[in-house]
Amino acid sequence: MAESRYDVAVIGAGPGGYTAAFHAADLGLRTALIDEDPQLGGTCLLRGCIPSKALLHAARLITEAEEAAAWGIQFDKPRIDLTVFRDRVQTIIGKLTKGVRTLAGSRKVDVIQGRAMLKDATTLRLSGSDTPRELSFAHAIFATGSQPLTPASLKLDDPRVMDSTSALQLTDIPARLLVIGGGYIGLELGTVYQALGSAVTVVEAMPRLLNSVDADLVRPLHQCLQRRFKAIRLNTTVERLEAREEGLVATFTDSQGASTETFDRVLVAVGRSPSTGRLGLEHTQITVTSKGFIHVDRQMRTTEPTIFAIGDVVGEPMLAHKATHEGLVAAQVIAGRQTVFDAAAIPAVVFTDPEIAWCGLTEETAKASGQVVKVARFPWAASGRATTLGRTEGLTKLILDAESGRVLGMGLCGVGAGELIAEGVLAIEMGALAEDVAASIHPHPTLSETVMETAESFSGSPTHLFVPKRS
């Protein structure tokens, strides 16, 4: 029997889903939040951003202790208790997911554990721990997220082949780890395992790591990783994986031909695919793109008017903060507000060491589209703060409108880049000019000064860098 109708049923309790549910409830709508997992938080909290950042923090402690030697501070080689390590990560997750549940309760959002499937455009069929039942809704928001993608050629029924989810569980520290995929997931997890003691080999089919990021931002990271990792193999594909007792044998193909190498574990991090399976979309008018993403308009409405979709399931970039913003838009649209998703810039951060962050227009996209831009760069070698940190490999750049100097994009490579990028987002959203950024006083001595100095070089020479005038 369909029980009393909900104004909004949100399927998926990741950051997109719970944000949508919370705001729907705040806007006076009767809201249900449905997830298969007994813990709320979705990929981000349970097997994504949060655990990976906890691991990266620990990795950073280890590498910083190593870097201390340069200051004359010697630490012994660290002893790692994996049980405590794993518990600590679980505690962090537990604390945050409990927080989400408390917030849901105080907003009177009904949290339902179960698997939801559409019966028609206004009814969900629920299965799972509770007895199967139906739930009717005026509006639904699908926030079912994405899952790690494993190509068929790399599918082995062997626990030594991991995806990002199993890699985060940190079952052991393999002596030899192969990371397939030089994207942000592979590099972040590779960084963690390397710090913990693994010899890491990264294989990337494209000619560089982080293929969608401007090359000059990737270069400093590449150089750091080259020192830490055993090997970074670009323009290389993994033809096949073979499980043997002594290890997993990978067959690589590159311009030199084929070669094999044996590893103790393999992490497959070639991408993620939207979770649209077994949702009963076929019982509605919802349409899906060739890549499997649900079609939505700028109000996050699918081709079925009662149903909205947000987050990874509607397309790239698959980022929690994009999902949250979309969730907000969907809830407001359902409540009758006149909102659209029209962000001018969605920031992206790679939490490696150094970090890479960017937002808005990239230099390479501008070039490809023929847009006339001026690129201003400021190398961190000229930053006092970077020098005190002993981390001068960084770079700050701004992509500016050639004529007005309006900030169209920003990119950073360096420690703390993820915290610095927010300024670029604000500048872009506010339509700020390089002049505006340059005229805003930045605190000294901080890395944020590099943003100001980059902006200064649009119309002249920044204080700490001499740019000879072109005549």
Binding site: V372, G409, G431
Partner: protein, 442 residues
């Protein structure tokens, strides 16, 4: 010298600049129109108080200006005529000095002699607006969907959505073309004035109950809304119904309409109603009066100016036929047709909208039934008529088909008692039923 917005008329504190009719550096003659201003009631030109050169324009289209505000910096000396941009010669003749001194004219609006054929025309079309605030944004990149598009902060983008504004059409006033909230508001005012299609000024969106459309409220509509609220909430209305058998009046109309036509006029029922109203007002002067509660007085008016509600594409506007008592039916018919026509085109002059002592709202033309009209203060009465209907009337022992008009007089009960109001209404009916009787002094 700064040219300030002069006093225009009683109750008009300012208006929105529709367009600038001169450019910086242009030579102007005394009395030449400098800007076109939209007030709550009409679009009026603001004349140059003296000849000179426009040094600087101090307002932009869309600005709201109030009386006394500086509009234009005018250099009184007439030198450097070569600096003035040469304009097509027809401009100087197309825009003759309309109101050398609007202050004086407005002050006498209520007692002025009628000027049916005044040659000046406030809406004289001019070749080009001086400074378009809006222009299509040139696209710099051929197909740059990547990266941030329009330089407008999120708060301004939200405002634009709410007002149904396509930001790519708005020119930003700040450095780098950044669009401010004010730019969006100016754009909307401008658009309203240009009478853009409603779809351009609105945006459709979804709600839980279906789709809706939001459109900005034109200033005339805002004014109507505030007037109606004031009238309805402050005036205790009495609505007095009465039936008028206008069969004979229709026969009279039928008989004389061709005669009027020969003279180039259309005899309408409205013209006949105006005459009937004036006749009844003369007998019951309380209805041709204004209540002055501040001074505890009644102002009885010795002139009979009747406002006639006109349905225009922009909304309800009420032009006034002045001194109806001194005009014959032919004059009234000619004047009424001309006023209505110019009202629909928004080419009516401010003074033609002022000074009414009573109002007629005739909705017969659109086949309306009886309705309750709302008094337009400071008047104290209004007549509302719909369409007459063929009705069986019991007469001399039998039912006969008669054309019966159900009319409704609304009067301000603070000033007019029910007995007076009823007698006034009955007098109206009496005249409508026996129009010739009125001329015979019956």
């Amino acid at each position: 010298m700064n040219v300030e917005l002069p006093f225009l008329a009683e109750g008009i504190e300012g208006g929105d600049v529709v367009q600038l009719l001169v450019r910086e550096g242009e030579q102007v003659r005394e009395g030449q129109s400098l800007i076109e201003l939209e007030t709550d009631k009409a679009t009026v030109p603001v004349p140059a108080p003296a000849a000179g050169t426009v040094v600087r324009l101090l307002v932009r289209p869309g600005d709201h200006v109030t009386v006394g505000q500086a509009l234009i910096d005018l250099d009184g000396s007439e030198d450097e005529p070569q600096k003035a941009k040469t304009f097509p010669s027809e401009r100087s003749t197309a825009a003759p000095a309309p109101n050398p001194d609007p202050r004086e004219k407005a002050g006498h609006a209520e007692v002025m002699e009628h000027q049916e054929h005044e040659p000046t025309h406030p809406m004289t079309p001019l070749p080009e607006p001086a400074q378009p605030a809006v222009e299509p944004k040139p696209r710099t990149a051929p197909t740059s969907s990547a990266g941030p598009g329009i330089p407008a902060p999120p708060s301004v983008r939200r405002l634009a959505r709410e007002l149904g504004v396509d930001l790519s059409q708005v020119k930003g006033s700040e450095a780098g073309g950044r669009i401010t909230a004010d730019d969006v508001k100016v754009f909307v005012r401008e658009r309203t004035k240009r009478g853009a299609s409603p779809s351009a000024g609105s945006s459709t969106y979804s709600t839980p109950y279906g789709s809706e459309r939001r459109a900005s409220l034109p200033s005339i509509r805002r004014k109507i809304a505030s007037n109606m609220t004031q009238a309805w909430t402050t005036i205790p209305h009495v609505h007095q119904f009465q039936d008028a058998d206008i069969t004979d009046l229709m026969a009279l109309h039928k008989r004389y309409a061709p005669e009027f036509k020969k003279k180039g006029a259309t005899l309408t029922l409205s013209s006949l109603f105006l005459k009937a109203i004036v006749h009844a007002l003369k007998l019951y002067p309380q209805l041709n009066a204004t209540l002055d509660l501040t001074n505890g007085e009644v102002i009885y008016k010795d002139y009979y100016n009747i406002g006639v509600a006109v349905d225009t594409p922009d909304g309800l506007i009420v032009p006034v036929v002045h001194h109806v008592d001194q005009k014959d039916l032919l004059q009234i018919s000619l004047e009424l047709a001309d006023l209505a026509e110019r009202t629909r085109k928004r080419a009516i002059k401010l003074e033609e909208l002022q000074g009414a002592t009573f109002t007629l709202s005739n909705m017969g033309g659109i086949g309306a039934g009886p309705f309750l009209p709302i008094i337009n203060p400071p008047q104290v009465g209004i007549l509302g008529v719909g369409k007459a209907r063929m009705t069986p009337v019991y007469r001399d022992g039998q039912f006969v088909p008669r054309r019966v008009l159900q009319l409704c007089v609304a009067y301000d009960h603070r000033l007019i008692d029910g007995a007076i109001g009823a007698r006034f209404t009955n007098e109206l009916v009496k005249v409508l039923e026996d129009f010739q009787g009125m001329f015979l002094g019956l």
